[in-house]
């Protein structure tokens, strides 16, 4: 296509087709369960989570059955990206009503087709639990998990088919790009971005507009735009979901950046372990090129911009900007010392803007709706929203987007549904291996860049791991250090040698072999690693230890002085006991792999703690819960 008019034509035409997904949804009263007449869209979520529980097969089967029953005239089955509630997947939403089925299995397809599509009756047993209210059925948008969210970066995830560029265009897609290249100067674009104060969503929070301006003002024959999609924090999948659910929003953001700084080439550095994201990105790039929205002379203007994928080979450190550039250049992914800014000398020594997936996904919206709109969301210091991957000991694990400044309580309890199994909330870990643990007393801390830094953690890329009373904080620190040690590139001494020594100390402590000197040594190592490491990953590698030492020092001390793990998580410090609840059924003795349990039938059994290897088999086998560990 060569003109904005053509773009608008597609928009109008396709919007008509998918408009029913965007209608206002109302509660469905229980007595009138008959579905509305007319078109029905069945959206099957196909992010990695749902995909791995067979959502792609559910789509195929649904299509087949709908066709078999001659319903394909008015029932359209469509793939869509991740809508967030991973814990309940595979998920299906049926529009226009917004009926939300969760935990759908292949075996359920027949019933859905038969009952819902043919007879117009909702299959109540498949409804997402919270969608079932007393006197009505709540549509998907009214479910607490979604109602409390504000979606900018994820606005199309779960609404459009990510493999169909037309549906993206129908939802204002490429309008922002069209606007900047036909109506705005480079400086104007940068001014809007600066004014919006969009801060980098990859973790460090650097103002995007200021970064772009630095590259814009630097003269060079060639400039580059890189999208950092090398998401690697354990438990983080924000970027993956955006790439899988709305890849065009990232392409559009990159193209706008390219226009603003004067670059004609972009790279998306995405990890090869994200096969679905890679596949959909490639489809998106191909479609955008076919439509003339990427490539030479976009929409008939002088602006040309191309995007290529570069696959990462699974090194966490390649998420660090300069290591990522080394990797694109074909070298071993190790960070460079920052002699020059990458906005001046980056990829192949040329001015390069590197932004995170989520950052780019925000750009189009800001251009279309304006900086003031963006600033009206979130806090003054951190405007806009942030996507979080909520995981760990929380009821609704999944992907959420909330305005900056929402409290941890909002996220963990309102949206996340609190802690499962009636356990006590203990802390959250934010920012992955570079972040820290925030104890329960800070539950009402607003989540924004400054507030989290103040209490010793970081926003990071958006991973939130919820911890409950059974999580040992020393063990959590050990877990993250284990990750850092495995992922250190080995270039600089403090990170390569220091994190290893730190891990050895933590292993000693969790094994009950820690000494009081170990605590001092941990602190001094933390100081060295933080102040002397080459790159951001090394400089933040000690954060999990620093923050747990700060807030949970008594747990470290219990391990060191009393050889006790207060959370009951460190196996080496536990002992298994049989209480007087024992009915003498002998099950435990029969299941013990090392014959450490003795006792007569119908009499209380005893564990020989010397022989016991603490495997926990007895505890599982006991029918009356008589075995405890302490």
């Amino acid at each position: 296509m060569k003109t904005v008019k053509e773009l608008n034509n597609i928009k109008e035409k396709v919007l008509e087709r998918i408009e029913l997904r965007k209608r206002e949804q109302k509660d469905i009263s229980l007595d009138s369960r008959n579905m509305q007449e007319g078109m029905t869209h069945v959206l099957v979520y196909g992010g990695t989570g749902c995909h791995s529980s067979n959502s792609h097969k559910i789509i195929e089967l649904l299509e087949e059955k709908v066709k078999e029953n001659g319903l394909d005239e008015h029932i359209k089955i469509s793939l869509t990206g991740c809508f967030g509630l991973c814990a309940a997947g595979p998920n299906i939403v049926i529009y226009p009503e917004g009926i939300f089925y969760s935990h759908v299995k292949l075996e359920d397809v027949d019933e859905i087709v038969e009952e819902h599509f043919k007879n117009g009756r909702i299959v109540e047993r498949l409804l997402y639990e919270e969608a079932k209210a007393e006197d009505c059925i709540k549509p998907v948008n009214e479910v607490n998990f979604y109602k409390k969210q504000t979606r900018i970066a994820l606005k199309n995830c779960g609404v459009i088919n990510p493999e169909d560029i037309d549906e993206y265009i129908a939802c204002d897609g490429y309008q922002a790009l069209a606007k900047v290249i036909t109506e705005m100067t480079q400086q104007e674009v940068i001014d809007v971005m600066k004014d919006s104060n969009l801060r980098g969503r990859g973790g460090a929070g650097f103002p995007t507009g200021r970064k772009w301006e630095t590259a814009f003002k630097y003269d060079a024959d060639k400039k580059y735009v890189i999208c950092n999609a090398d998401e690697g924090d354990p438990g983080a999948f924000m970027d993956r979901s955006i790439l899988e659910g709305d890849p065009h929003s990232v392409l559009e953001g990159m193209a706008i950046c390219g226009y603003a700084i004067g670059a004609d080439q972009g790279y998306i550095y995405v990890r090869a372990e994200y096969p679905i994201a890679v596949q959909r990105l490639q489809i998106a790039i191909n479609q955008a090129k076919e439509k003339g929205l990427l490539g030479k002379n976009i929409l008939g203007t002088d602006f040309s911009f191309d995007i290529e994928l570069r696959l990462g080979a699974g090194a966490f450190v390649c998420g660090e900007g300069t290591a990522l550039m080394e990797s694109i250049e074909g070298r071993r992914g190790m960070p460079r010392p920052k002699i020059e800014r990458t906005a001046h000398k980056g990829l192949w020594g040329k001015p390069t803007i590197i932004n995170n997936v989520e950052t780019f996904a925000n750009v189009g919206q800001i251009i279309l709706k304006g900086a003031d709109w963006f600033k009206s969301i979130g806090t003054e210091d951190s405007p806009g929203t942030k996507v979080f991957a909520l995981g760990g000991k929380v009821n609704h694990t999944g992907l959420v987007e909330v305005p900056m400044g929402a409290t941890l309580r909002d996220i963990v309890f309102d949206i996340g549904g609190g802690i499962p199994n009636g356990r006590k909330y203990k802390a959250v870990q934010t920012g992955g291996p570079s972040g820290g643990c925030i104890p329960a007393e800070y539950l009402d801390t607003p989540v924004d860049f400054a507030s989290l830094a103040k209490i010793g953690s970081i926003m990071g890329s958006g991973g939130i791991i919820v911890l409950d009373e059974t999580d040992c904080m020393v063990d959590i620190a050990r877990f993250y250090l284990d990750f850092t040690v495995a992922e250190s590139c080995g270039k600089c001494v403090p990170c390569r040698e220091g994190t290893k020594r730190m891990l050895e100390i933590l292993e000693r402590i969790t094994n009950g072999e820690g000494t009081p000197e170990d605590l001092d040594r941990l602190e001094s190592l933390a100081e060295t690693i933080t102040s002397a490491s080459l790159c951001g990953l090394g400089q933040t590698a000690a954060n999990p230890v620093i923050s747990t030492l700060k807030y949970f020092r008594e747990e470290y001390e219990a391990h060191v002085y009393e050889k006790r793990c207060p959370a009951g998580a460190c196996q080496a410090l536990l002992q298994y006991f049989i209480t007087d609840k024992c009915i003498g059924c002998t099950k435990c003795a029969r299941n013990c792999p090392v014959s450490a349990i003795s006792g007569k039938v119908k009499e209380r059994h005893v564990i020989d703690t010397e022989t016991c290897i603490k495997c926990g088999a007895c505890m599982e086998a006991c029918p009356v819960g008589a075995i405890i560990k302490k």
């Binding site: 080995g490 040698e497 002397a532």
Partner: protein
Amino acid sequence: MANVTVTIDSRKVTVPSGTFVIEAAKKVGIEIPALCYDPNLEVVGACRLCLVEIEGSRKLQTACSTKVWDGMVVYTQSERVINARKEILQLLLDNHPNDCLTCQKAGECLLQKYAYEYDVKFREHNGARRPALMDTSSPYILKDDSKCILCGKCVRTCAQVADRQVLTFANRGFDTRIVADSNFTLEESSCVSCNRCVTVCPVGALVDKRLLGKGRVWEYEIKETKCKVCDYGCNFEILSKDGKNVAVRAKAPSNGRPLCLKGRLTTEFIYLDEPYTPYKKENGKFKETTWKEALGIEDIIEKLLDKEEISTGVEYNG
């Protein structure tokens, strides 16, 4: 380029803008310790030993990769700096064999020098150590991985000659190692024994095998000479002990001088009283060879002999 004036440890120095702090300090006689820095190589900032404190900067900065600016105030000996350096040296020593008594590098080893300067000592611990892998396959280079501090100078200097690029990093984190090609021995690899890597190695991880056991560095009398084989004129040192020339070693390959085995052997042959057996690599195997062949002068010698232009009484070790 414009000049800028900086204050380093309360001494003022004027240098061209764009100069690195470490070089500016050198100008006023302040030596900042560094294991991975070499003005002839790409700056990598890996060893972190050259950390200094710069006024106005919260974090410590590496002097090797920070450019001076006008009015910059640098402290190279503050308590914070010294503590960081001590910790870094301790981390290195904790993973380094206590072998200074018999190490060929003793007396020239930078790690030894800085450990002494900063009073950091070996200590007992039960933690992990680098595996004691030693590559003895080459008659010219001994590669001892247990002593490697991964400064990467060898990799960088090897990469400077386009058709070499033999050495590289392998594995990552604590398990990082320097390997030849795809983890081959030096013998199997494409290494041409030019010894560039040996000349830049700050510790005893890469040593000239022909020097082993010949003497300690403080016992030598050292004379410099230029190689006569080609126009590059690489620099070599002739080491003599008790009045006898015992070894020739390559000097660091500065100013585009590439170093090569033939040049080193030629220099050895010219200056050593008793040159050691030369070896030649053929199909990934080192073989003992003749001096004629090693120096590539077989044809010449034959022709000379043919023409009877050299006296029949000449003896040469071949």
